[in-house]
Amino acid sequence: MDPSKPGADRLGRVPTRGLGLTLIELLVSIGLGVVLVGLAYSAFTRVKASTERATVRVDLHASASVLRSHMQRDFGNLAPSLAFFARSRPQVVDASNPSRKTDTIEVVFMLTTAPLVSQSNFGEQFKSDYHWVRWRFVRAWRDVAGTWKPIGGRLYRSSSRPSRSWRTLSNATAFKAPGPLIDPVPGYQQWTSYAGREWFNMPRPLRDASQGIESLENNRYGMDTTVVDPTSAPLNRTTAAYGDIGDLTDLDSTEELVTDRMRDFAIGWVDAHGAVTTLSTGVAADHRIDGLYVDVTGPAGNPALAQLARRPRVMRVAFGLADGKTGIAQDFSFSVATPGLQPQIGQ
């Protein structure tokens, strides 16, 4: 024994045991490490999967919440005096691509807001603001080896621009259109003064729904968009060529994607007398509901109770959202009251 060796104790013994692990310790350490790594891997995998599910779920609920907000804003302000359209067109083959077809559900209606402009001792002043709004659900199908398979659904929303063509006029009568703001009521004021300008509501309020959604394409002068002449000087234009495009064109141009994760969609309503109407994909339907005058007469002067009964009082929307990556899906259903008394439902 040589006590002068490095690491030797005073008796010259070298503590070899402290320099490393024995084989048993090494094996135990490795085994323990493997077990722990396995547990950690499993835990992290589960956490990752759980995180993905939770994230997707939160995301789906967030999308549903946005949709519900749109629904509340749009249907909660639905103008009862104007036309309401809803139609479903199932399985329409794309003319340019025969291996693709679409289901479409669209709802078009006019909403109104009446913001408070001023208050005085004589009362309050409101300005009405009208927009055509369209909700359009499109689900695409693809022919895969002779079998049609859905490849996704999208919901679009568009809103016509109420002030898309207004200007300051020195002589408002030069812009007196043949059609009044609220359909043919003789002498009805078509324009209003706001912030020092004469303001014209360009979307054409339409009470008669019998001609279908395409009738929105006629502009407020009753002309289609082909007569628009944007090059003519404003005050020299005829009323027919003042520059107002059709409302359907406007809806097309303002369309925005709300969500592209909608796998199915259904919309319906309960009318004033409690009757239920539902549009769902796969079933063709075309509903046209006339608006009502404030004096509760129909567009042709008919007694309006039948029309009143058909007006929606509760709008219902149901849809399924799915995450394409994980396949996680959640169905949602919301209902919103439109202006008016709530009907008795489901007697």
Binding site: L19, R68, H273, S335, G346
Partner: protein, 213 residues
Amino acid sequence: MTSAYPPDLPARIPTPSPTRALRSGFTLIEIIASVLLFSLGAMAVIGVVMYGLSSAMKAQAGATAWATALAVVKDPLPLGAVSASNGTLTPWTWTSSGASWSANDGSADPAWTYTSWPLNLASDVLVPDMADPIANNPAIFSLRGAPAVGCAHGWLNGYYVERREQSRASDRIGRATRIVEVRVDVYWASYGAASDGRRLATVTDRVVRQGDL
């Protein structure tokens, strides 16, 4: 006095400490302690992540739960529920070419159950306990049973929803028009354990209902 050391060695020669030599590697105890410490840290991180996710999910769910309650206050029969002749509704099922799915995600529980009442009823239509019917009247809101008159319950938007509606004779304001008091509770619950669920949203309202004129 004799020294304990060999006589040829100086008594105070510094010798390397055995403990210093031991530090050149880890002992098993040290490795186990380190791994356990690491595991604890990892678990803590995972726990924090999961708690954050859970909180985010519940916060978001709270928003849709509130929207669900607002919807059901106005509409006792949300879209998708199919009315049967006995007033009990079957789970909603949407079908189209190549697609068929139901709102209750395969659960055997009914998606939505609703019992109506005639508007022209002259007498009171009262829920026995408007405030807490689950606790005091469990039979009324049993998961599979028919609810009380004017009430509804079921699964909607991933939540368990209960809707209670009552109206007194004095609430009649016309032949077929009356005021009704509505309360909707939305629960975060697993299927089959609605009464144990955590309440996410409660909305109460009074609406004027109109029957066929």
